[in-house]
């Protein structure tokens, strides 16, 4: 999931009778499937939770460019380079759609970016892992974007109009990302023994972090219950993770690779795959800032932003000068 552990600020989900009259009207709209729009009345908690969720989602798209950007200059062919460039450019676009959706809630782009740079806002844990080989470009597109699709498709139906509409655009483009990744894996697996070993190595390193993307089990989480009631979270983390495992295992088998999980087994009774325990201490450690690349990712983002400051300033100065000359001429 691109937004993990989103706080709602509530200690318990209040029954309808305890809601204020405005909140009851609001909840009735959500229950009836009516989209909430920017200018509509909304509870402060809903607004704040959405700002957290959407900005975290946007930051993930933006920081998510970095692991793949690492391979643009080293792609194995011009074709792969052009495709990877287009993919990374899409991620920038996704970040922009999402920041715009966030801004409709009354926060500013500068505030959101500042919160990312000071470490106040989070981004997905997955982008704090290094991209060591070309096969990582395959594994990321296939598994990371694959997990993102599973998470984002339900969000196209979420209760907040601007977020839902941004998700529709994102999902249309995300499918290209997943396929180009799997295509890289197919080619590596049909290549030399070393190339196939490289693909297996990438799968070994990205499998578990991809499953962690959905976040820890939230069956007992008050935040998730509240978000579900508000229509901004439509399935539990475990349901989405199970879906990811179920649909990906046959894709691994097609490649002739092995899932790095000795406990993975088809469960006839459940109609799902059983899989091993996830090491959540690793997830929490990465979230806390101690993943392999946390510091590097944030430092790169901050540097890019600061290095561009003179350019943004000069754009504004130029625009001011032009409108001043236009006034003078009139």
């Amino acid at each position: 999931m691109y937004a993990q552990l989103v706080e709602t600020g509530v200690l318990k989900v209040s029954p309808d009778a305890e809601l204020s009259p405005e909140e009851q009207i609001f909840q009735a709209k959500i229950d009836a499937g009516v989209k909430i729009e920017a200018k509509d009345w909304m509870p402060e908690g809903y607004r704040k939770t959405l700002v957290r969720q959407i900005s975290q989602h946007a930051h993930s798209e933006i920081v998510g460019q970095l692991p793949e950007g690492n391979w643009i200059t080293r792609a194995p062919s011009l074709k792969r380079k052009a495709i990877l460039l287009a993919k990374v450019q899409d991620e920038a676009g996704h970040g922009l759609y999402l920041y715009s959706a966030g801004e409709t809630l009354g926060t500013s782009r500068e505030k959101m970016v500042d919160d990312l740079h000071t470490g106040k806002a989070k981004y997905s844990s997955i982008f704090n892992y290094p991209t060591l080989t070309w096969a990582d470009m395959g594994a990321i597109g296939w598994l990371v974007d694959g997990s993102a699709i599973i998470n984002q498709i339900p969000l196209c139906r979420c209760s907040y109009g601007p977020y839902a509409r941004a998700m529709v655009r994102v999902c249309k483009e995300e499918s290209f990302h997943q396929r180009q990744g799997y295509d890289i894996m197919i080619q590596l697996c049909n290549g030399t023994r070393d190339q196939k070993a490289m693909a297996q190595d990438a799968l070994n390193r990205w499998w578990w972090p991809s499953l962690m993307m959905f976040g820890p089990s939230d069956a007992e989480s008050v935040n998730s219950a509240q978000s579900a009631r508000w229509g901004i979270k439509l399935f539990s983390n475990d349901e989405l993770r199970q879906k990811m495992v179920d649909q990906t295992v046959p894709q691994v088998e097609y490649l002739g690779l092995t899932v790095p999980d000795a406990e993975l087994k088809w469960n006839e009774e459940r109609g799902h795959y059983d899989f091993g325990e996830i090491r959540w201490e690793e997830f929490y450690n990465v979230i806390k800032g101690n993943g392999p690349c946390n510091r590097e990712r944030l430092a790169t983002r901050v540097k890019a932003h600061e290095d561009g400051a003179w350019f943004r300033d000069s754009l504004l100065a130029y625009a001011d000068k032009k409108s001043f000359s236009a006034t003078q001429a009139a």
Binding site: D40, W41, Q89, L315
Partner: protein, 94 residues
């Protein structure tokens, strides 16, 4: 935090003959940059043949509180729809 680039609303005409449709917004210092950014952000897959950009501050919008006074009067005027008038089945092309 530097000074913010102004916000623009982006409208794209998808094919010849269709109206421009709102697709989203972006930040830009002036109209030229807004069009260039709109090209990159909203038309990477041949979504459009024409772009309009409008400073968001120039848009006046109706408020959701005015929904009833603005739109309810139309509810009682069902005769504005052709289906209001039943036509005898033997009458054709109407």
């Amino acid at each position: 935090m530097g000074k913010a680039l102004p916000l623009w609303e982006v409208f794209i005409r998808s094919q010849h003959g269709l109206a421009h449709k709102h697709v989203g917004s972006l930040h830009a210092s002036d109209a030229e940059m807004a069009i260039n950014n709109a090209r990159d952000v909203y038309t990477r897959r041949n979504e459009g043949v024409s772009i309009w950009v409008v400073p968001s501050a120039s848009i006046s919008a109706s408020s959701s509180q005015d929904k009833e006074s603005l739109f309810e009067p139309a509810n009682s005027k069902v005769y504005r729809h052709p289906t209001f008038f039943p036509m005898p089945s033997e009458v054709k092309h109407i």
